[in-house]
């Protein structure tokens, strides 16, 4: 039987065995309210018109689909196209989702916005839309991430957001998410929680996906206009998986298009020090949904490792888990060293500095292109720009800036 992927999730937020609503009872009613409001607004012409106008005039969409000729030449295989989400306002795809969720928050009459962030891109994207709408904004961020993404912390503060350091657990993204959940449960009446990835309890995975689907919708049309037909493969990095889901979703029912989600292999999956939840994790429940998680024998969530803070997360969006189980998408890993090498390649031959997260997709895309023929085409989601990472990269390479 052919699965009609665009029909998922079901009424209860399930993607096959994955997804769902595994939340504290205190949040159940407000998740219901959010679900009702979202279902109503997602087909509301005025809401969609406002969303599309904001994406055009504020975010700067559509983002270009760029043929990376020199990178293609270097790989000597399939043509490599880059979907330039790095050119969006604030420098990554994350703004697509926050522009959508803030409109929803406004429509629901919420006065206060909270968010979690890992690399800081989602925090910045949230602080940005809050500044624009004049709403109070609190961003939770792990102490470790605050250290390695200092520039983004400062950007958020400049825009009037309060950045709260989280020092529990591994002091990274998952702990920031826990803390944001605790805040939400405490201020459930007036607070809207803008989750930054396709995880969390229903309706977040589908909502964040839908707001990011503009990436895939544009890419599909741009490719048809420039080349005709469909690309052979799509490649995107996967931490929680929002940029990948945004690119993949409009292509899910086009079975000729191969999908590759690239997880963070860290020091190598066999080392145990990685953040590849699908490749190296098992089915479990974390942050409101059933998905692949990285946990030990006793079910404790284990600390992940990746060179990129944005991929350093022990779970993955439930729809990715579903696409993996059904075989529709392929999930592969790229380790720290390969990502770093790809960062340099793209920077050197195309003059584009990708984020470290994105560099994982670039690395796999280059490998894939090499294995394909020149008449084939692949699209790599260039999900974010790398300015925020230059200090990290300089430090790794022993360069003082």
């Amino acid at each position: 039987m052919t699965i009609k992927y665009s029909n998922y999730p079901d009424e209860k937020g399930h993607f096959g065995q994955f997804g769902g609503v595994f939340a504290s009872e205190t949040l159940m009613h407000c998740l219901d309210e959010l679900n009702t409001a979202y279902r109503k607004l997602k087909t509301d012409p005025d809401f969609l018109a406002q969303f599309n106008q904001d994406l055009a005039d504020y975010v700067g969409r559509p983002s270009p689909l760029y043929l990376a000729e020199r990178l293609t030449e270097e790989c000597d295989g399939a043509k490599i196209w880059l979907k330039r989400e790095d050119l969006n306002h604030t420098g990554a795809h994350k703004i697509n989702n926050t522009v959508g969720q803030i409109l929803l928050a406004k429509a629901m009459g919420k006065k206060r916005i909270i968010a979690e962030t890992g690399a800081g891109q989602h925090g910045v994207a949230t602080a940005t839309v809050c500044a624009r709408m004049g709403l109070e904004c609190v961003v939770y961020m792990g102490e470790v991430d605050i250290q390695r993404q200092a520039i983004n912390v400062y950007r958020m503060k400049l825009m009037g957001a309060e950045v709260r350091s989280v020092d529990s657990g591994s002091k990274t993204l998952k702990d920031a998410l826990n803390e944001a959940m605790r805040d939400w449960v405490t201020h459930v009446d007036d607070t809207f929680y803008i989750i930054g990835t396709v995880a969390g309890p229903d309706p977040y995975p589908q909502m964040v996906r839908d707001f990011n689907s503009v990436i895939g919708q544009e890419a599909k049309k741009q490719f048809a206009d420039k080349v005709g037909g469909l690309p052979d493969a799509l490649v995107a990095c996967v931490g929680g998986g929002s940029n990948a889901m945004g690119l993949f979703h409009p292509f899910l029912d086009d079975s000729s298009v191969q999908l590759y989600g690239v997880e963070a292999g860290g020091h190598g999956v066999e080392s145990g020090q990685h953040a590849a939840s699908i490749t190296g994790g098992k089915v479990g429940v974390l942050h409101g949904n059933r998905t692949y998680v990285m946990s030990d024998q006793q079910g404790q969530i284990i600390e992940t490792h990746s060179i990129s803070a944005g991929l350093d997360y022990p779970g993955v969006g439930p729809e990715h888990a579903f696409l993996n189980e059904s075989g529709r998408a392929n999930y592969v890993t790229i380790n720290d060293g390969e990502a770093l090498a790809a960062f340099h390649s793209l920077t050197r031959v195309e003059g584009i500095l990708p984020a470290l997260e994105t560099s994982h997709a670039v690395a796999y895309g280059m490998k894939l292109a090499k294995s394909l023929s020149p008449e084939q085409n692949i699209i790599i989601n260039l999900s974010g720009r790398g300015d925020k990472d230059v200090h990290t990269i300089a430090a790794i390479e022993g360069v003082s800036v």
Binding site: V21, E25, T26, M28, H29, S168, G169, V185, S295, G299
Partner: protein
């Protein structure tokens, strides 16, 4: 008849006192002795926390206790083992395991139910597994006469409260505030009103927890409830103890006044 049912029936109008302790905190060797000490000083039911790395619904006290217990190697299996030891000398006090779904999921439902049953566990409370997502687990628990405790919160709608009560067993746990465990600012008027409402939907006992910290707050929320749960305040006191003897003493001193205050109602 389940041990919880017997226990609540034998109260004959007295309010039940349900202390919560995190398994393995501050010292794994103390937990079973502390459980006995709680019973000696008037606990009717014990909630034993299964440490989890990402306790989203817990405040800082229980988060830290969980982290500390995990570093000492305490997880779901060692928590169940503690109940087994406790049962060697106590066969009458119900024990409710409280925690999060992932460790149970990781162990496997069948394996969990079998081990918990064999150890003498009476019920399970999972903060992140509402009735809608608990169907399979609930069936497996019921098949072994284990009860799954569900929560009702101040934000729960009437329709949901009815649905939850339909699935509930053992007792219904009313979360007294919007927030995490151990928060302040209980609105006892609102709590009492909500408890009255819950009782319209179920004949099960209603326990009130989250934010109850001493005799005064216990009495304030116990007007219509059948039981009060006290966790963070006790866990916090135990964490400061340097020896089992002092932990036992502190536990007794903490529980006794709450017991007598509840008995004076």
């Amino acid at each position: 008849m389940s041990l919880l049912k017997t226990t609540f029936e034998q109260l004959e109008g007295r309010k039940a006192l349900i202390p919560f302790v995190t398994a393995g905190y501050p010292d794994p060797k103390w937990t079973v002795d502390i459980m006995h000490e709680l019973v000696k000083n008037g606990a009717d039911v014990i909630e034993l926390g299964m440490p989890f790395s990402d306790p989203m619904a817990d405040g800082p006290v229980i988060q830290q206790a969980s982290e500390h217990a995990i570093t000492q190697g305490i997880g779901i299996e060692s928590t169940i083992a503690m109940v087994k030891t406790f049962r060697q000398t106590n066969q009458t006090t119900p024990v409710v395991l409280m925690g999060y779904l992932n460790p149970v999921e990781c162990m496997g439902y069948d394996q969990f139910v079998a081990q918990a049953k064999a150890a003498g566990v009476d019920a399970l409370l999972l903060v992140d597994s509402p009735p809608e997502e608990s169907k399979e687990l609930l069936e497996k628990l019921k098949a072994q006469d284990l009860e799954q405790i569900f929560l009702i919160a101040p934000t729960t709608t009437e329709a949901r409260a009815r649905m939850i009560c339909e699935h509930a067993a053992g007792f219904v746990y009313y979360v007294a505030l919007k927030g995490v465990t151990g928060s302040a600012d209980l609105d006892s008027m609102a709590v009492n009103k909500d408890v009255i409402n819950i009782k319209k939907y179920t004949d099960l006992p209603v326990a009130v927890g989250f934010g109850v910290k001493d005799a005064t707050s216990a009495v304030a929320v116990a007007e219509h409830a059948n039981a009060v749960v006290i966790g963070s305040a006790l866990v916090s006191l135990m964490g400061a103890c340097e020896s089992l003897e002092s932990a036992k003493q502190v536990t007794g001193e903490f529980i006794k006044p709450i017991r007598s205050a509840l008995d004076s109602l």
